[in-house]
């Protein structure tokens, strides 16, 4: 009986691994097979010319730059909000356990709210104050929508720090702030980086929140008050085209988006491993 149980769960486990990796490779295969042939230097180095969306010349540099500006800005904004909140939940407010758990619950709810709702909310505010779609509006909207993700991701990491470590810093007379940045952040650097990446990934991949707030343009934004193009929307618009060539370009853009995320993940991983040297394994 024990053996059957063992075999059953092992099969289940291998099955799950197979399905997940299979799906991943299927996605990558489909964007490569459909998009790789359209990927060209022209595509990443030029903005759309007249008739680009009908298969004529040009590229999507506007969307690449726009996406990078937008997600970098939103990630930075969200990080400066999330880090203090996550630290506060685990240091300053740690003893008010009920309140912190309530906060966690609310953040989890916010995490679950679809990004289009954030987009619609931001749009309604923009209408109220008479603002137009701009890079700034996009950065704020996306920033707000990745804040709960980042806070909870960091919070989960800070939670793993043993109480004794925080106590020993406090016993030395360290203030809450000194303990937070000197000890918690250091100990959790790789986790903080993961949270950052998670936020960045959600930000750069999101189409719904930027649809109303950032708009779309064929130009590279020159200031925060101008609208900006983003890769997910570039994919979305091109994929709906009746022209085969344009649809292939959509897949090329998807491939590009995947590559950007991959590149940034690898770079930050390498950087965070450097900080990891002094981590204590409890």
């Amino acid at each position: 009986m024990k053996r059957v149980e063992e075999i059953f769960f092992r099969t289940l486990m291998y099955g799950a691994v197979l399905v997940i990796t299979g799906l991943l490779f299927l996605i990558i295969y489909s964007i490569i097979s459909k998009g790789a042939s359209s990927l060209s230097w022209e595509m990443v180095s030029q903005t759309p010319r007249g008739g680009y969306y009908f298969g004529k010349e040009g590229g999507i540099l506007n969307a690449i730059i726009g996406s990078l500006y937008l997600s970098a800005g939103a990630t930075a904004l969200a990080f400066f909000i999330s880090l203090p909140v996550a630290l506060g939940m685990n240091i300053y407010l740690a003893k008010y356990r009920r309140m912190v758990n309530g906060l966690r619950f609310i953040l989890d709810l916010l995490w679950g709210v679809p990004s289009i709702v954030y987009g619609a909310f931001a749009f309604s505010i923009m209408i109220m104050v008479g603002a137009r779609a701009s890079l700034m509006a996009g950065i704020i909207t996306v920033g707000v929508f990745i804040v709960p993700i980042m806070i909870r991701a960091m919070d989960e990491v800070f939670k793993t720090v043993p109480r004794g470590l925080t106590e020993s810093a406090l016993s030395l007379g360290a203030t809450f702030t000194e303990t937070s940045f000197g000890v918690l952040v250091r100990q959790c650097a790789p986790g903080v980086v993961t949270a950052l990446l998670l936020g960045f990934g959600r930000g750069i991949g999101d189409a719904a929140a930027v649809l109303f707030t950032t708009g779309y343009t064929d130009y590279i934004p020159g200031s925060l008050s101008q609208p900006a193009a983003t890769l997910p929307l570039a994919i979305f618009f091109q994929l709906g085209s009746p022209i085969e060539e344009v649809r292939e370009r959509a897949f090329a853009a998807a491939l590009l988006l995947t590559l950007i995320i991959l590149l940034i993940s690898v770079i930050t991983r390498i950087l965070s491993n450097r900080f990891n040297k002094n981590r204590i394994n409890f």
Binding site: G182, N278, F282
Partner: protein, 252 residues
Amino acid sequence: MNNPKIKIQGLDLHIHKQHILKGINLEIPANKITVIIGPSGCGKTTLLKTINRLTDEYSGVKHSGSITIDGIEVLNTRNGLTEIRQKAGLLSQRPYPLPMSIFNNVAYGLKISGRKRKSALRPRVEHLLRMASLWEEVKDRLNDPAASLSIGQQQRLCLARGLAVNPDIILADEPTSALDPLSSQAIEQKFQELSGQYTIVMVTHILRQARRIADYVIFMYLGEVIEFGSAEEFFSNPKHEKTKAYLSGVFN
């Protein structure tokens, strides 16, 4: 006692609805080793952590009564938490080195207590590591992560780090319970050497350790102080029935 370092009067402490410390009255003498013994869960650690106000960080803690260090109230004050904790450092059950290099672990204490000049740090760090008998073992690898040390070395590192902030009092919560016999011996020896300059309050589960190093002994049972006296008297002539029972190993 004519000159107690720490004076505890009528200390009661509740965590949520549990009565953890009940009417504690103690006068802990300066520059001696005072050992707290008693069965598990009798409030030893809580008493220790109340002295440097670490209990502030726990949820649902309510206390009444008073604790003074050198005649200055530490329990019922909103100010100077940092100073109180620097005055009474804590050495915990198992070492918790900070996630930084060996050197920086010790320098951290110096830095947060306001000594920031780099040139002044190094000799101080060396002095402190020597005080904790760790210098010879780590002098060639000061920039290695603290985690690369053995547990016994880590505990001595924590001692050096604790001494860096210039405490008067060392609170030690079973500081040898995670250590091998040799490292335990090193810590005990250190405590005996340091007891001339520092007031040491140590919780232990090991009766033999208490016999070896205690100048004074406190016996606690279910949140109350049952007996307190000089080690000699305590061990040779315990007055209370419960103390006698504990010393003969009836309950643990």
